[in-house]
Amino acid sequence: MIARELEMAPNLNDPRAISEAGERIYNQRYKQDFEANHPGEFVAIDVIGESATLGNTASETLMKAKAQHPTGVFHLIRVGHAGAFEVGTAYRYVHTDRLPRQ
C-alpha cells in the first residue's frame, strides 16, 4: 500500500466509514455504467485501490475480488438496490439497536 492510498483510506475499524467510502467511489466512478449494463449484479468496491469487481452472487463476487486484490478491503453493493442484502421476515433477529428509542 503506497502512502497516498493510506492517506485516502477510510478508518478500517469503522464499518460505516468503509461503507461510505465504497458508496462514494461507486457513485463517482461506476454507478452510471453499472446501472445501465449490470442491473441486479453484485459489485465489490475496493476502498483502498478503488477497483470494482462484478459477480452474480455476493459470495462469488467477494471471492473473485479477494483473489484479484488480496490486500483489498471491499464494500459490497447490489447494483440498483438500496442494500446488498435484504432482511424481511426476521426483523428482531438483526436489529442492532438493543435499546428501544423513546
Binding site: S19, G22, L62, Y91, H95
Partner: protein, 170 residues
Amino acid sequence: MSIQTGYLDSNGHPRLTIRVSGTHPTACADIEAMIDTGFTGFLMLPIAIALPLGLVLYGTGNYTLADGSQVTNFLAQGTVTVLAPTIAPVAILPGAPPVPVSDLTPESIAGTIVLGGDGPLLGMEFIRNLDKMLMVGKTVILIDNAVLTALQQQAVQQQTAAAAPPTNQP
C-alpha cells in the same frame, strides 16, 4: 444420495444444525441456525460466535431491513456444513440400492457471512447453493437432487406402464 432433517423450534421457525468454520484448522462452531427465506444473503452470524473462528474478513455490506432502514456490517468468508441427521433413501425409493449411512458425506458450502444480528440466520443464497431441495412442513427436510431425479424417473415409468394398453394373451 441422502435425506437430512432439520426441525421446527418452539416458535415454529425452521432450523438446521450447521457447522461454521473459517481458516483456522480446528476452530469451528456447531450452531442451530434459523432458515429465513426473507434474508437474501448466505449466513448471518453474531460477532461473538464468529470471532473465534478465524473467518477471512472481506469488508462491509449494507442490508435493508423491513422498515427500509439500512444497517452496515462487516462481511467475512466462511464455510457452512450441514450437520442435520442423515437417513438413507431406502424408505422412499424401494428400487434404490441401499446406501450405508456412514458413506454419506456432509455437504459444505463456502459463502459470505454477515457479522451481526442476535441469532444465526441461513438465507436464500445458502439455500440456492445447496445441491438439495429444502422442504418445510411439520418438519424440515433436505433431499438430494439425485433422489428427486430418481423419484421423477420412477413416477414417469409408473405413468407409462399404467397408460400402456394391456397385451392380448392368446
